[in-house]
Structure formats: structure tokens, C-alpha cells
């Protein structure tokens, strides 16, 4: 079954399945992302990934003979706006399933609304543990938690020479950043690697000199940075200015793509915990799906670097579409039930939900794959 669907999802479906027009009403999938505001770059990447998944699915015949339609609402990088976006999608657009909302803070703000309206949501990016442990049965997360990431990283920690002996953190001051600091600190601490200094920054901060000067005083050898793409790029550039002199590892899937074209001076290199490495699609669990996704993205002429985040939207749409197909009807409760039976290949790897949280009110949590990509002199390699 996996093989047949792999062919379908990778765009290799039989021409007989291909349709140029649909007589039936579209199946609407609601999505909220930060299309504007502090983390707009990432939100747009994820939305673009979702759009191309819709194109690929519709070219292959849609779902139940009906086309998929993506209804996108901007949450403006703001949790209040994220709640408003969900209200609009559910009440005005009557979507039977949602995808969102990039940041853990936005997603956590939305959770009570899912319970209120009884609409399932696929969480494509957010990593805070509470999202799947708070007892919300409408949540199905395909993204890894900070803990999963940290465990994945901890398995590779022995590969570092010189060895990692003490770590510092520079994290964005929200659920995403604090969650990563807590989990990485605990899991690496259990491996005998203590935490030195922890510094935080607001999501809008651009001058990080005070934080980096303070971090320079710590005797940690490795600095973990958790934030969005823009702030990560700033932090890495300013770390050179402040002569922080530590190995830099970023978490959460952010990659400073601008530093490929304008590399950091002095041969500085950095490692990045990612969930898709578009430079090496052949190394993905399902290379044919990764290849289709990458080719479709490039056909649009979008920035190559967006591929590292866009796959989240792509995999999320595949997940919802499969749940609708299994449910056989476009009703929120039926789709929620069907989510537990989803078992499909995605760009990141196999997507299948396991139960997490209080008994009887469990959320779904997928077990995604983690890659560590090294950036040195504008060139990438897999660790």
C-alpha cells in the first residue's frame, strides 16, 4: 500500500487518474501561518509547501474525486491573530480540518478553540511539549517535539571532535525557545554535559550584543541557538563581532540560508538541526517524494532555502488529505477519527500518529526524522 501511495504522492500517478477539471465541490483545508510579522519568512515557506502539495494532489485526481482547496489565513506572527484566524476559518469558511500555526505560542493559543469547535488540526512546526500533553484530542502533530530533537541530537553527540563538554543557550523568549532550552539542557545533562549560561531575546530583537557579550563570559564550548531564521542569522553574524568563539548549533529546523550567499568570515562553521535537508534529497527516507516536492518548489522559482521549512506544509496537506480519504466524508469528527489510521510516506519520513497525553483525551504525535546539517564557507554537508 505504501508503494502505491508513494507513487501517487510523488506525482507519478497513472494518467487515467489525472484530471484537468472537477465537477464536484472542493474539499477545503484551513491553514493559518505567520505570513506577515516577525517570523513571516518561515510562515510563507510553510504556506508555499502546502500550496504545492495541493497542486500535486489535485493533478493526481484530488480526494474522493473532489479537488482540494487550501484556505489560508495570516496570523500576523501574533497569538491573538492566530485565534482570530481560526475563528474565521471555522465559522466563515466552514473548513473541516486545520493546519497551523507555526510558532508554539500561536498553536497553544489556538488549542482551546479546537476543543470548542471540535475541529482537528495538524500541527506542522510547533515543538513545545505541552501541545500534545495537555489532553486535547483534536491535535495531531507531525513536527517533532523539542525532546525528540534533543534525543536525536544526543545520539550524534559522540561524533563531535573536540567533544562537547559544556553548553550555553541563546533562545527566543517564547514557548519554542524556552522548551528547547529545557529539553536540550535536560537530555544533554543526562549525558554528562552540563549547562553553563542561558540568555534569552525577544522575538523582535535585532541587536543581541548584550546577550552575546554575556555568553562570551561562560566557559561553555557550544552555544545552542533557538529562534526563527532571521534572528538566527543575526545572532550568528553578531557572534563573530563579539568574538564569542564557541561552536554554534541551531535547533528547531531554522537554517540561516542568507549565510550560504554571504558566508561568515574567518572560516566559521555551524551545525543546524533540520527535518529536511534539501541539498541531499537522495538521503531522505522517501527520496522520490522528497524529489517531487523539491522539483515542484523549484518550478515556482521560490527561494531554495525555503525548502527546509516548506516541507512541513507539504507533509501536513498530505496528512489531512489522507485522513479525509480514510474518513470517506468531509466531517470534522470523521476526519479526527481517521487521523489515527493515517500511515503515509512524507518528505520527512513516514507519518503515523501515536497517542500522547492523558488517557481518553490523547493527542496524536508523529515520530519524525532529524538531520544535522553543517554550514561552512557557504557549503552544506550532513553530519
Amino acid at each position: 500500500m505504501l508503494t502505491r501511495r508513494t507513487a501517487l504522492l510523488s506525482g507519478l500517478a497513472l494518467p487515467a487518474l489525472s484530471r484537468t477539471g472537477f465537477a464536484a465541490d472542493p474539499i477545503r483545508i484551513g491553514m493559518t501561518q505567520p505570513l506577515t510579522g516577525a517570523v513571516a519568512a518561515s510562515g510563507n515557506y510553510v504556506a508555499n509547501g502546502a500550496k504545492i502539495a495541493v497542486d500535486v494532489l489535485n493533478r493526481a485526481g484530488g480526494v474522493m474525486g473532489r479537488p482540494i482547496e487550501l484556505v489560508l489565513e495570516d496570523n500576523k506572527s501574533n497569538p491573538r491573530e492566530a485565534v482570530a484566524a481560526v475563528e474565521k476559518l471555522v465559522l466563515r469558511d466552514k473548513v473541516p480540518a486545520l493546519i497551523g500555526a507555526w510558532s508554539s505560542t500561536f498553536t497553544l493559543a489556538i488549542l482551546p478553540k479546537l476543543m470548542e469547535y471540535k475541529v482537528p488540526m495538524v500541527v506542522e512546526t510547533s515543538s513545545a511539549a505541552r501541545i500534545t500533553t495537555s489532553g486535547n484530542p483534536y491535535v495531531f502533530r507531525i513536527a517533532p517535539t523539542s525532546e525528540m530533537e534533543a534525543i536525536g541530537f544526543a545520539e550524534l553527540v559522540g561524533k563531535y571532535t573536540p567533544a562537547i563538554r559544556k553548553i550555553d543557550f541563546l533562545s527566543v523568549n517564547n514557548d519554542f525557545g524556552r522548551g528547547a532550552t529545557e529539553k536540550y539542557g535536560a537530555i544533554l545533562g543526562a549525558k554528562g554535559i552540563p549547562t553553563g549560561r542561558v540568555e534569552t531575546m525577544t522575538p523582535e530583537a535585532t541587536d543581541l550584543s548584550a546577550q552575546l557579550t554575556a555568553l562570551k563570559q561562560s566557559d561553555g564550548d557550544t552555544l545552542f541557538i533557538t529562534t526563527g531564521v532571521e534572528q538566527l542569522t543575526l545572532a550568528m553574524r553578531q557572534a563573530i563581532e563579539q568574538r564569542v568563539g564557541k561552536r554554534i548549533v541551531s535547533t528547531g529546523g531554522s537554517f540561516p540560508d542568507a549565510l550560504i550567499h554571504q558566508p561568515l568570515p574567518g572560516g566559521a562553521h555551524s551545525d543546524h538541526v533540520l527535518f529536511y535537508a534539501p541539498w541531499f534529497p537522495e538521503k531522505a527516507i522517501h527520496p522520490e517524494i522528497a524529489k517531487t516536492y523539491t522539483e515542484e518548489w523549484n518550478k515556482h522559482g521560490w527561494e531554495f532555502a525555503g525548502l527546509t521549512e516548506g516541507f512541513r506544509g507539504y507533509d501536513a496537506v498530505l496528512t489531512v488529505a489522507e485522513a479525509v480519504r480514510i474518513a470517506g466524508k468531509v466531517e470534522p469528527e470523521a476526519i479526527r477519527e481517521a487521523m489515527w489510521k493515517v500511515q503515509i510516506p512524507g518528505v520527512n519520513g513516514n507519518i503515523h500518529f501515536q497517542k500522547e497525553g492523558p488517557a481518553g483525551r490523547e493527542s496524536g504525535q508523529n515520530q519524525p526524522n532529524v538531520y544535522i546539517v553543517r554550514l561552512a564557507d557557504g557549503k552544506t554537508s550532513l553530519v
Binding site: 505570513l35 506577515t36 519568512a41 510562515g43 530583537a205 548584550a210 554575556a214 563581532e241 563579539q242 568570515p265
Partner: protein
């Protein structure tokens, strides 16, 4: 001690840029009594112009900075001519609403024109820092500080030693009497708004290569500019410079030695303190209201 020295250097560099941000805003308020909510957006406009001219058109970096500031001044003149002049004599609420509307339009226009993805502006400066004993600073940051100081001096010269500056100060003190003395008050308004806007755009163009350029970059900057001019005293030019450096040092030392979590809060805590002790600001004299 080494850490304190590094914070001192960082605070000076940051303070210079803050002073540049504050002076354009306080000038417009001082002369025109207009609270310019478009200040942050003009800053973003300057940064985008620098990006477009350097990265897309391949123009010389220094020429691009100059052109970005001039384009910012031209945009400011248009805003004044189209929006503010018809509102002369209107109540302060109407003017504030018009400026908030203009800020929203400018930010959305940036989003539409440039997209939401942040851009890096290339600069001819080496990315490695200059090292002086225990402290380090990027050559680009020193350049920005130097230009900021030069602009502040040029600006002081303009206001203090030229006929245009005398006309501006006369309008600031008493527009009716200035008009009776032959000052073209309408022209002074356009020129003042254009200069203030040009300074905001210059700050954006200078800081664009230091940070990154994005459509919402003006939000925080607009807020900080208001903090700076409130610190120094609304409409007070030396106050804006002192307020800029005070905010830079407080953020840097507070963040470095107390808590980075509350780095931005330290600046606003200082404002609360100043307002409690000297409501007119650090430098400004008391003013009769009503």
C-alpha cells in the same frame, strides 16, 4: 572589567544609532507639533532603498546610502504635502489618526513590494571585528557611528548657523510671528518633515546592512524612537541625542549584568523613572500647557 568595557563600546555604538533615530522624530514634533507615527516605516523605507540600490541595481554602497536618505526625504515631503498640509489647524487626534493610517499603508506597501522574507544588504566592510585589547567592534558599526555623529553635527549646524535653521527655530517658537516676519511657514513644514524623514531613512539605510531588512523592522524602531524623545524631552534636539545614548547604555548594561530577558524593559523603566522625577524629560525646560 573586560565585559563592562565591551558593553560600553556596544552601548556607544547602539546609542549613536538611537540618537539618529530620535533626532528626526523630535525635530518634526518640535517644529510642527506632529506626532510622526510613520517614523519607523520611513526607517524601513530607507533600509529597503539601500537594499534595492545595492543588491538589485548594483550601485555603489556609499552612493546608495545617500540616495536612500534623499528618497526618504522625498517621501517625507510627499506625505507632508498630501496628508499634513490639508490638516493644518485640525485637532491633534485627526493628525495622529492620519499618521497611523499612513504608517499602516507604508508597512503594507513594503510587504507587497518586497515580500515578507528578510533581506541582507551586502556592505564593502570586512565581516571580522576590529580588536582593541579586550573589546571588539565591526568596522561597519564604527562607520555607522561615525556617519551618525557626522549627521548629528551637520544637523546642528543647519539649525544653528543657517537661515533655513533660523526659520525653522522661529516657526518652532511661534508660527504666527514667524509668518509675520516673512518666514514661509508652509515651506518650513515641508522642509522639516522632509529632513526628519530623511534622517529616519538614513538610519534605516545605515542599519540595514548591520541587521536585516524586513517589512516590520520599523515597529520596534518606532517604539524606541518615541522612548528616546520622551527621555530627552519632546521637541528637544540635544535631549534626543542624550536620550539615545542613555537608552543604548541602559539596555546594554542592564541586559549584560542584570537580565537579557528584560533588556527592552530596562529602557522603559528608565522612562518611567525620568517621567516621575522630571516629567519634561532629561533636558527640556518646563513648558506651559494650555
Amino acid at each position: 572589567m573586560d565585559q563592562a568595557l565591551q558593553h560600553l563600546v556596544n552601548g556607544t555604538v547602539l546609542g549613536g544609532t538611537y540618537a539618529l533615530l530620535g533626532i528626526g522624530l523630535t525635530l518634526i514634533f518640535g517644529v510642527m507639533r506632529v506626532v510622526n507615527f510613520t517614523h519607523g516605516e520611513l526607517y524601513a523605507f530607507g533600509a529597503y532603498m539601500a537594499y534595492g540600490l545595492v543588491s538589485l541595481l548594483g550601485l555603489n554602497f556609499y552612493l546608495s546610502l545617500l540616495l536612500a536618505a534623499l528618497l526618504g526625504a522625498a517621501l517625507g515631503a510627499v506625505i507632508e504635502r498630501v496628508l499634513l498640509r490639508p490638516l493644518r489647524g485640525a485637532d491633534i487626534d485627526s493628525v495622529m489618526l492620519a499618521m497611523i493610517g499612513a504608517a499602516l499603508v507604508l508597512q503594507n506597501a513594503s510587504m507587497w513590494a518586497w515580500g515578507g522574507v528578510a533581506k541582507l544588504v551586502p556592505s564593502p566592510f570586512d565581516g571580522m571585528p576590529l580588536v582593541f585589547g579586550p573589546v571588539s567592534v565591526l568596522p561597519l558599526r564604527l562607520f555607522v557611528l561615525g556617519v551618525a555623529v557626522a549627521l548629528l553635527l551637520a544637523f546642528w549646524f543647519l539649525l544653528d548657523r543657517t537661515r533655513a535653521g533660523i526659520a525653522m527655530r522661529a516657526t518652532f517658537q511661534d508660527p504666527e510671528t514667524a509668518a509675520l516676519m516673512g518666514v514661509r511657514v508652509a515651506w518650513v513644514g515641508t522642509a522639516t518633515f522632509a529632513i526628519g524623514s530623511g534622517l529616519a531613512a538614513a538610519a534605516g539605510a545605515l542599519l540595514g546592512p548591520v541587521f536585516m531588512v524586513s517589512p516590520t523592522m520599523g515597529d520596534l524602531v518606532g517604539l524606541k524612537a518615541f522612548a528616546i524623545v520622551i527621555l530627552g524631552g519632546l521637541g528637544n534636539l540635544p535631549g534626543a541625542v542624550i536620550g539615545g545614548f542613555a537608552l543604548g547604555y541602559v539596555e546594554e548594561f542592564g541586559g549584560g549584568f542584570l537580565s537579557t530577558e528584560y533588556r527592552d524593559a530596562f529602557g522603559f523603566l528608565l522612562i518611567i523613572l525620568v517621567l516621575a522625577i522630571r516629567p519634561q524629560g532629561l533636558v527640556a525646560a518646563k513648558e506651559r500647557v494650555g
